[in-house]
């Protein structure tokens, strides 16, 4: 068995965890892939920060509407039942805690749920934050979608973030190409290990003490 799943498989895995009726923001970049795997027969309502609830898929070629875009500035469509609103209302929706789920990318996630995804802090880089900080603190569930390791082989799950933070203690679950982790009481709990990954092998890859679901359950019972 392989130790990694593809980005599309990961998007499908995330989509499967989103219940019907959820209000969801998929940020920009890789997380927007999740939309491709939401079942057609379930009503899940997508929010885009630039002022639309009920966002649909990309338009047919020839039907691109420059007035109708998503947060990544790509052309989209609007479903029956959609609503437009201005930017303050759109962010009030996020910041007021009305979204059920958002899915974000990450440079690093700490075991206390801190997220770093907007800046590597590299000297001379042009900073840009967009709506990342608002999404990180606003949604009821903040899911991160990311590879477990950087191209250099370093773990993106860390004891404490070294990159500039996006939000503090905000991440509830991390979907990686190796496994799914819940953030519980200052540690990562391995919710699901893909392929031949194990709690032990993941602990070695991340250099962190990880809990199994059994550990987490025991911990709850023990309280």
């Amino acid at each position: 068995m392989s130790s990694r799943i593809s980005r599309d498989a990961l998007a499908a895995r995330i989509a499967a965890d989103i219940p019907e009726g959820s209000y969801v923001n998929l940020g920009i970049g890789a997380p927007t892939l999740v939309a491709n795997y939401l079942p057609d027969d379930l009503e899940i309502i997508l929010h885009t920060e630039n002022g639309l609830l009920g966002m649909g898929s990309a338009p047919e070629s020839g039907s691109i509407d420059p007035d109708l875009i998503n947060a990544g500035k790509q052309p989209v469509t609007a479903l029956a039942g959609a609503a437009y609103f201005h930017h303050a209302d759109s962010f009030a929706m996020m910041r007021g805690g009305h979204l059920d789920v958002c899915v974000l990318g990450a440079f690093q996630v700490s075991q206390s749920g801190d997220l770093a995804n907007w800046s590597t802090g590299a000297p001379g880089a042009i900073p840009a934050v967009g709506g990342a900080m608002d999404l990180a603190i606003g949604a009821k569930e903040v899911f991160v979608m990311t590879d477990l390791l950087t191209k250099a082989g370093e773990s993106k799950l860390v004891a404490a973030c070294t990159y500039p933070l996006t939000g503090v203690g905000c991440v509830t679950r991390v979907y990686t190409d190796h496994a799914v982790f819940d953030v519980v009481d200052g540690r990562f709990v391995v919710r699901e290990a893909f392929g031949d990954n194990t709690v032990a092998s993941l602990a070695e890859l991340t250099g962190l003490e990880l809990a199994s679901m059994a550990d987490a359950a025991a911990s709850v019972e023990g309280t």
Binding site: D65, Y84, H86, A128
Partner: protein, 252 residues
Amino acid sequence: MIDKTVTDAAAAVSGIQDGATVMIGGFGRAGQPVELIDALIEQGASDLTIVNNNAGNGDTGLAALLAKGRVRRVVCSFPRQHDSWVFDRLYRAGEIELELVPQGNLAERIRAAGAGIGAFFSPTGVGTELAEGKELREIDGRMFVLEHPIKADYALISALRADRWGNLVYRETARNFGPIMATAATTTIVQVDELVPLGWIDPETVVTPGIFVDRVVAVGERSWLRDGTFVGGVDIEGRPAHPVEAPAEVDQ
């Protein structure tokens, strides 16, 4: 009779002084008031502070204003994009200042200016370097950061339709920052596709009431609309999706 319409974009942007703070609507290209920005370039005001979500795309609109060296400072949430080469060059050369603001704080600070709020405790940015030096407070067990209003001398925005009182409706996600910027500027200048007679906009559907609008100029229908109906035929930048080849010149 109240008539906020002006004849052309040049008249619309008249009087904008050097050193002014100018809000410019739009999210990327959607809702960007291109004709007003072009008129502002022509008008010549410089040393401007620009408030926008981005810092220009490509070589037109806001990017062109930046390229002319008219902008001293940009307040925005997301300057770096694949096509933000004008801003990138100026920034790296140290020729432009940047105040980076999380997008929700940007929107709420603009709204606060329009709504007379002195300052507000925001949930966004707590514990990050964008909150450094700002007042923090725990309220009901959660930390917040104090944010202040952003107001402007002028707002340049784009809407779909207006009447002579300045009531506005927008189109789709081109609405974005327009309604809040209109409330936060001393003078709000709007370009619209079309002017309609007073009473043609259903009062239930007005998004920006005319009280927030000072000058309106009609710039004609966007190329992807025909008589208010979407007809497409453009790419995301509004250029013809399948450009028609110019007919070969025929020697006479």
